[in-house]
C-alpha cells in the first residue's frame, strides 16, 4: 500500500515543520511504505528482527509514514495513550505512531495497483479513533486482557479458534514480586494459595533468605558474623517491618488484603514488599504511574 503523500502533506505542512524528528524515516523511491510485506521486499525484515525494542517479542513494527518515530512502548501505555483527545496535532501524530508499533494492520499485499490507480485516499495504518470503538469499551478490554499480556509476555494475535489468551483456572498465575532492599525479584504462583495468609507466608519463604543474604553483603560479608534469617511477618496488618502492596489492572498501587481473595487474584498484576516506614510517603490508590492520561472527568 502506498501512502498518498501529496494530499496529506500539503495540508499538514505545519505539522511536519513543528514536530521534532527523532529518527529519519527510510523512504523507498520517494514513496512511503507502511506494511511489513513491503519491508520484506526490500530485505528489511531481518534487520527489523535484530533491532532492539521495548515491545514484547512477536510484535510487528510498521514503519510509519509521517513525522515522528518513537521507540515502541508497552501495550498498556499505547492503549492508554489512544484514549486521549484534545491534544495538539503534533501529539496526535505521536499517538498514531505509538499504536502503529503494536498494531497488526496488514493492508492487502498485492493489489496496490488497484488502489494506486483509483487515486483513493488511503489510510495510514493506525489512526485516531479507528477502529470506531468507544474509549470506555477499549479501556475495559485492555484492563481485563492486559493482565494476561503481562503474565504471558506473549501478545501475538491468537488464532481462529477464538481461545482467550490465558485460562487462569488451568495454568498457574505467576506474578512478579519485588522487595525493598532486595535487587532480585521473584515470581509467585497465586493459584497455589487460597488466602492472604497463604500468600503472606509464601512471601516470607521467598525472601527471608534473600533478605538475610543482602544484609550480609551490605555489612561487608564478614563471614564470622552470619546474619540470622529473620521471619518476615506482619505483611498484611501494617505492624511488620514490611508491608505487602500490589499493582492492579488499572496501574494503581493498592494495599493487599482489602478485597476478597478471588477479586484480588483477578485484578493483581504484580506484588511489592515495601518498608512499612515508607508507606505514608507513597501515593497509594490512584498512583497513575503507568497511565499518562488524566481522568476523562474534569
Amino acid at each position: 500500500m502506498f501512502w498518498e503523500r501529496k494530499s496529506q502533506m500539503e495540508g499538514c505542512k505545519r505539522k511536519e515543520e513543528d514536530c521534532p524528528k527523532l529518527l529519519d524515516l527510510i523512504t523507498r523511491n520517494g514513496e512511503w511504505v507502511i506494511n511489513g510485506d513491503a519491508q520484506k521486499l526490500h530485505g528489511f525484515t531481518e534487520e527489523k528482527k535484530l533491532e532492539l525494542s521495548l515491545a514484547p517479542p512477536g510484535f510487528q513494527q510498521s514503519k510509519q509514514p509521517g513525522f515522528l518515530q518513537f521507540p515502541p512502548s508497552t501495550p498498556a501505555q499505547n492503549l492508554s495513550v489512544m484514549g486521549e483527545s484534545s491534544q495538539p496535532c503534533c501529539n496526535r501524530a505521536v499517538r498514531e505512531l505509538h499504536t502503529a508499533d503494536q498494531n497488526a494492520f496488514s493492508p492487502p499485499p498485492a493489489k496496490t495497483a488497484v488502489t494506486n490507480s483509483s487515486q483513493k485516499r488511503t489510510a495510514p495504518a493506525p489512526v485516531v479513533g479507528w477502529p470506531p470503538i468507544r474509549s470506555f469499551r477499549k479501556n475495559l478490554a485492555t484492563s481485563s486482557s492486559s493482565k494476561s499480556a503481562y503474565e504471558s509476555e506473549n501478545v501475538v494475535p491468537k488464532k481462529v479458534s477464538g481461545e482467550k489468551p490465558i485460562e487462569n483456572e488451568r495454568k498457574g498465575l505467576f506474578v512478579k514480586i519485588n522487595m525493598d532492599g532486595v535487587p532480585i525479584g521473584r515470581k509467585v504462583d497465586l493459584k497455589a494459595y487460597d488466602s492472604y495468609e497463604g500468600l503472606s507466608s509464601a512471601v516470607d519463604e521467598l525472601f527471608r533468605g534473600l533478605l538475610a543474604a543482602q544484609r550480609e553483603s551490605v555489612s561487608g560479608g564478614n563471614q564470622n558474623e552470619k546474619v540470622e534469617e529473620k521471619a518476615i511477618t506482619g505483611l498484611l496488618d501494617g505492624k511488620g517491618e514490611y508491608t505487602l502492596v500490589y499493582e492492579d489492572n488499572e496501574g494503581d498501587r493498592m494495599l493487599v488484603g482489602d478485597v476478597p481473595w478471588h477479586m484480588f487474584v483477578s485484578t493483581v498484576k504484580r506484588l511489592r514488599v515495601l518498608k512499612s516506614s515508607e508507606l505514608p510517603a507513597l501515593c497509594l490508590g490512584s498512583g497513575k504511574e503507568k497511565m499518562p492520561i488524566d481522568n476523562a472527568t474534569k
Binding site: 495540508g11 478471588h262 477479586m263 485484578t267
Partner: protein, 545 residues
C-alpha cells in the same frame, strides 16, 4: 375540531406518544398548537445547541421529562476534544425556575458536573429518573448528592461513564426511609462498593426490577442480593468468579434457579469459563444477553451458553465466538432481532467473523441498522479484491427500512450512488475513508431525503460537495466532516449563506496565532441547524464562522 373543548383535545393528544406525532399535531392550527404545547410532558432535543433552555421553557411550559444530546457522535472515538461543549448545568439552572414538576432527565454525551447533580437533586421534589449515557465530568460525590436528596428516585442508570471515584460511600447515602428504587445501573463504576449498603438497599426496595452491578461486587454478594430480589427482570452481574467446586458455586446455582423473571442478562465483567454453567438454568427465559464485556469466556463456552438461550431477541457478544459460534446463534436463536459483535481485542485482526454482505441483504431484508466495521479501513473484498460498493449497494437495495448505516472497507463513489438511489429511509450515515470525489457526497445529499445526521472522516469530499446544496443542511440535524478536503474558505462561504446554521471549525493547533488561510484544509468541521445562533460557551479552539 375547533369546537371541541380544550380538555377533549388534550385527552386525544395524550394518546400520541411519539415526539414526531405531537410535533405534527402542533402544526395543524393555532388552537391545536396551544393545547399541544401546554400538555406536552416530554421533550427530546437531539442537539442541545439547536435551542436554548429559555426557548424550550417558553415553548413548552410544563415539561416533566427532558432528553438532551450534546457532543457529536464521533466524540465516542476521541475525535472531539473533551471540552468542546455540551454542558448540562445551564439547562438545569433554567429548569429549576420553571419546571417544578421535572421528573426525568436523559442525557447523552454531555458534560455533567457534580454541581449539576447537586442542583438537580435539591431542586425537583418529584424527580424520579436519571439516565446518563457516555457523559463525563462528575464524581461519586455527585451520586451521593442524588442518593441523599432524591426522595422518590426510581431510576439511576449510568452507561459507559468514567466516574471519578471519591471517598464517601455514595450507596450508603440512600436514607433508610428510601424504598422507591426500581432501576439501578452502576456497572461502569470502577471503585469500591459498600457491599453492606448495597445489600440493605436491595432488601428494602421491593419494586427493584433492574439491577446492574459493577466489577467490585463479588459473586457471594450477588447471590445474597438475588435471594433478596428474585423479582429482578434485568440483571447485570459484577464479578462472576468462583472456584470450581466451592460453596459459592453451589449456592449460586440454587439461587439462580429461583430468578424466574430475569429476561435480560449482562455483566460478567470478571469471569472465567467454568463459572458460566451456573447461569444455564435461567437461559431459556432470556430475551436479551450482553456478553460484550465478558472477555474471560472463550468461544467454546460462549457457544455452549448460546445453545441454552433459544428465546433471545437481542445478543451482544464478542468476536471470540467465531464463525462457528455465530452459526450456532443463527440456528438456535430464531427470534433474534439484534446482533452486535464486538472485537475482543481491537488491535488484533483476523478473528472477526466474516459476513457476506450480499447474503445478509438477501436473508435479512428487515434490518433497520447495518454497521460494518472492517478493521483495515481501506480493505477491498477479500475474495474479489474489488471495492465493497456492490455489497453495501445490495444492503441498501434490499433493506428498504434501513435507517442507519456505517460504511467501511474500500469504497468508491459508486456506493454513494447506490445509497442515494435506494436508501430512502436512511437517517444516519457514517462514512470513513471512502469515496473518490465530491460526487460521492453529492449523491447522498441529493438522494437521501430523510437524512438527519451525516458524519464523514478521512474522505476526499471538498467545497464543491459542501456548497452545492446548502439548503439541505437545514433539513438535517448536523454534519461532521474531519480530515476531508473542505477548506476554511468553503466553510466561511457556507456560514455566510446560511445564517441559521452554526458552522464550527475545531482547530486544535497550539499556534492559534497562525492564521489559517482560506485555502487551507479544515481539520474538523461540525455544522448544525440552530434557532439561537452561535453558542456562548464555545472554547477557544472552536471558531463559529
Amino acid at each position: 375540531m375547533n369546537y371541541f373543548p380544550e380538555e377533549v383535545l388534550e385527552h386525544v393528544f395524550d394518546f400520541l406518544t411519539s415526539h414526531r406525532d405531537r410535533n405534527a399535531v402542533s402544526l395543524v392550527c393555532k388552537s391545536w398548537f396551544m393545547v399541544e404545547r401546554s400538555s406536552r410532558r416530554s421533550v427530546f432535543i437531539g442537539n442541545c445547541y439547536a435551542v436554548s433552555p429559555d426557548r424550550l421553557i417558553a415553548r413548552f411550559p410544563r415539561v416533566r421529562s427532558l432528553t438532551l444530546k450534546g457532543k457529536p457522535h464521533f466524540a465516542d472515538f476521541n475525535l472531539v476534544p473533551h471540552d468542546w461543549g455540551g454542558y448540562v448545568y445551564p439547562w438545569i439552572e433554567a429548569m429549576v425556575k420553571s419546571y417544578s414538576e421535572l421528573e426525568e432527565l436523559r442525557l447523552k454525551r454531555m458534560i455533567v458536573s457534580d454541581e449539576s447533580l447537586e442542583l438537580l437533586s435539591r431542586s425537583f421534589v418529584n424527580f424520579k429518573s436519571l439516565v446518563l449515557v457516555s457523559c463525563e465530568g462528575f464524581t461519586t460525590d455527585g451520586l451521593a448528592a442524588l442518593a441523599s436528596n432524591c426522595r422518590f428516585l426510581k431510576e439511576l442508570d449510568l452507561q459507559e461513564i468514567e466516574v471519578e471515584e471519591r471517598r464517601g460511600q455514595w450507596l450508603s447515602c440512600f436514607p433508610d426511609s428510601f424504598t422507591s428504587l426500581e432501576s439501578l445501573n452502576f456497572a461502569c463504576l470502577k471503585g469500591e462498593v459498600n457491599l453492606g449498603a448495597l445489600e440493605r438497599l436491595v432488601a428494602r426496595c421491593p419494586n427493584l426490577k433492574n439491577l446492574r452491578l459493577s466489577r467490585a461486587v463479588p459473586l457471594n454478594v450477588l447471590q445474597k442480593i438475588l435471594i433478596q430480589a428474585p423479582q429482578l427482570v434485568d440483571l447485570g452481574t459484577g464479578s462472576y468468579i468462583h472456584d470450581t467446586d466451592s460453596e459459592d458455586y453451589q449456592k449460586m446455582k440454587s439461587v439462580i434457579v429461583k430468578c424466574k423473571s430475569v429476561r435480560s442478562l449482562s455483566g460478567f465483567l470478571d469471569v472465567a469459563p467454568h463459572c458460566i454453567s451456573s447461569i444455564y438454568p435461567i437461559c431459556s427465559n432470556l430475551t436479551s444477553l450482553n456478553l460484550s464485556y465478558a472477555t474471560g469466556i472463550n468461544g467454546t463456552e460462549l457457544t455452549k451458553l448460546i445453545l441454552h438461550c433459544k428465546k433471545l431477541q437481542r445478543l451482544w457478544i464478542l468476536d471470540s465466538i467465531g464463525d462457528k459460534g455465530l452459526a450456532v446463534v443463527a440456528s438456535t436463536c430464531k427470534e433474534l432481532e439484534e446482533l452486535r459483535v464486538f472485537p475482543s481485542d481491537p488491535y488484533l485482526l483476523g478473528n472477526a467473523a466474516a459476513v457476506t454482505e450480499e447474503a445478509v441483504a438477501k436473508n435479512c431484508p428487515n434490518f433497520t441498522r447495518f454497521r460494518l466495521c472492517i478493521l483495515d479501513p481501506t480493505k477491498p473484498d477479500a475474495v474479489t479484491l474489488q471495492p465493497l460498493d456492490e455489497g453495501f449497494g445490495a444492503i441498501v437495495q434490499a433493506c428498504k427500512g434501513l435507517r442507519r448505516l456505517s460504511l467501511s472497507g474500500l469504497l468508491t463513489d459508486q456506493v454513494f450512488l447506490y445509497i442515494g438511489m435506494y436508501a430512502e429511509q436512511l437517517e444516519m450515515l457514517s462514512i470513513a475513508f471512502a469515496g473518490k470525489s465530491d460526487k460521492g457526497m453529492l449523491y447522498v445529499l441529493n438522494g437521501c431525503k430523510k437524512l438527519r445526521k451525516l458524519e464523514i472522516r478521512d474522505s476526499p469530499f471538498g467545497n464543491g460537495a459542501l456548497l452545492r446544496d446548502v439548503g439541505k443542511y437545514e433539513t438535517m440535524r448536523s454534519l461532521w466532516m474531519s480530515s476531508c478536503e473542505v477548506t476554511l474558505g468553503g466553510c466561511k462561504a457556507l456560514a455566510k449563506r446560511m445564517p441559521t446554521l452554526n458552522v464550527e471549525v475545531i482547530n486544535e493547533n497550539d499556534q492559534m496565532d497562525d492564521i489559517l488561510g482560506d485555502d487551507q484544509r479544515v481539520e474538523k468541521m461540525y455544522l448544525y441547524r440552530t434557532l439561537v445562533g452561535r453558542r456562548i460557551d464555545a472554547p477557544d479552539f472552536v471558531w463559529t464562522l
